[in-house]
């Protein structure tokens, strides 16, 4: 029984870190992704290509590598060692997920028929109003399913933090294997399943709410 409580406590405290990484990434990458998306759709070519290259590099290399780079590069290259491992992980996650989100946003924005913009223009709406009053909502409706997908992946990706020894849940569970215990490792799956189950329900609910119109 004592063992059970010990395992439960260390897994739960580990999962706390997963949750911190998850929530910080969500809060920061969602707006940052929008900025990146506007960059990649910019009519100013240098900005556009810079952003596209950035997205290509971030999406084209492993997240684990990015975590290592963010953690070690400042110290090894500039002699300003990264103090906090957790911060390094969050920075890497935010950059990585902003790149993915930006592509989802871009796809959503570009899928809106040009007729919607034109109708807004001939009705005398400013460009800002066309975006905020007409396009934005339609974009949100279209990106909810792919964003849901990406966010569920994010929950699971948080376990990559153990790459630089951030004591997240799976790292905690792995310690117990040395004592011959496999159940803690299995149990970590439950934590992820519960959170992702809730997220699935949440996104299903949002999709349903947005389904009051077609198109």
């Amino acid at each position: 029984m004592d063992k059970f409580i010990e395992v439960f406590n260390s897994l739960t405290s580990g999962f706390g870190l997963n949750c911190i990484i998850f929530l910080s990434t969500l809060v920061l990458a969602i707006p940052l992704g929008l900025i990146v998306a506007f960059g990649s759709m910019s009519e100013f070519k240098p900005l556009k290509w810079l952003t596209k290259t950035f997205v290509w590099i971030i999406r084209g290399t492993p997240l684990m590598l990015q975590i290592f780079v963010v953690f070690y590069a400042p110290g090894l290259l500039f002699e300003i060692p990264m103090r906090s491992r957790l911060t390094a992980v969050i920075i890497a996650f935010v950059i990585n997920y902003a790149a993915y989100f930006s592509e989802i946003y871009r796809g959503g924005i570009e899928s809106i028929p040009v007729g919607q913009y034109e109708a807004g223009q001939v009705l005398g709406l400013t460009k800002k109003q066309v975006f905020s009053k007409i396009v934005l909502f339609q974009v949100i409706k279209r990106i909810v399913p792919p964003m849901g997908n990406e966010i569920i992946t994010l929950v699971k990706d948080t376990s990559l933090a153990r790459a630089i020894a951030v004591a997240e849940i799976i790292m905690q569970a792995e310690r117990f294997t040395k004592e011959g215990l496999i159940l803690p490792l299995f149990s970590t799956g439950l934590y992820f399943l519960v959170v992702n189950g809730l997220l699935t329900l949440l996104f299903g609910y949002i999709e349903k709410r947005l389904n009051y119109y077609k198109g």
């Binding site: 007729g115 034109e118 001939v122 009705l123 005398g124 339609q138 077609k214 198109g215």
Partner: protein, 259 residues
């Protein structure tokens, strides 16, 4: 004075010259129909006048004042552009209603945003907004859709959607209302309801420019008809002249295919 005067409008897409010096003018209260086969440039003409394309040459005047001059170097401010834009209303071939808004919300959206910029908006907010709603309901009633005010576009037939879009354009009280093939995206049995609405507007002396393939309708409703082919105005005149007694071979060939 002509309410609309178009002078030597040119438009090229790359090397393709779509409009080759198109000129015409119309008076207040007149109804002008533009006929022509696809690719003749009539939709491009409409889009150039409505600022959806930038003409490569020519000028457009409304009530004698120049609202577009291709040779002008100065770039009008967004506010000036909007003011010029609002001389016109445009009804699209594919309606382009905003799917997330009800019929009524589609009609009131632009007037409400405009009203919010008025100096006295804060004091008279309630009164102004209720006037806009009332006006929008009257317009929906006029196009026969008062009961559908709360419906979303996806719950309406094509003909009903097009009628909402006419009400939406009218809500801004444009000087000239343009129609870009308003019935082309509709099933044949639904065209009648749109043509009836246009006729009703005609009876109230709305100034209108109609790009259409409905020859009989154009003949009945128009004061003036322009026939375009290959980016130029081939023939211009009353319906009796252009449709009843065409002088040009190209007009005759087009009409014989259509009638």
């Amino acid at each position: 004075m002509a309410i609309l005067e178009v002078k030597n409008l040119h438009k090229s897409f790359g090397k393709t010259e779509v409009l080759k010096s198109v000129s015409f003018s119309m008076e207040k209260g007149e109804i002008l129909s533009i006929l022509g086969s696809s690719g003749s440039g009539k939709t491009t003409l409409l889009r150039c006048i409505n600022f959806l394309e930038k003409a490569s040459g020519g000028q457009v005047f409304v009530d004698g004042s120049c609202i577009f001059d291709a040779s002008s170097k100065e770039k009008p401010s967004p506010a000036v552009m909007r003011e010029r834009q609002l001389n016109f209303g445009l009804v699209f071939q594919s309606f382009n209603l905003f799917p997330q808004y009800t019929a009524l919300e589609n009609v009131v959206l632009a007037p409400k945003l405009q009203a919010a910029e008025r100096a006295d908006f804060k004091e008279n907010k309630k009164k102004i907004l209720s006037e806009i709603e009332q006006n929008a309901m009257n317009l929906l009633d006029r196009v026969g859709l008062a009961e559908k005010a709360g419906n979303y576009p996806c719950q309406l037939s094509g003909g009903q959607q097009q009628r909402v879009s006419i009400a939406r354009a009218l809500a801004l009280d444009p000087k000239i209302l343009f129609f870009d093939e308003p019935t082309s995206a509709l099933d044949p049995e639904l065209t009648g309801e749109i043509l009836r609405v246009i006729k009703d507007l005609a009876s109230k002396h709305m100034t209108m420019v109609i790009v259409t393939h409905e020859i009989e309708f154009a003949r009945n409703v128009s004061d003036k008809i322009i026939f375009m082919d290959g980016g130029v105005v081939v023939e211009e005149g009353t319906p009796e002249q252009v449709i009843g007694n065409p002088r040009h071979e190209r007009t005759r060939a087009f009409l014989s295919k259509m009638l």
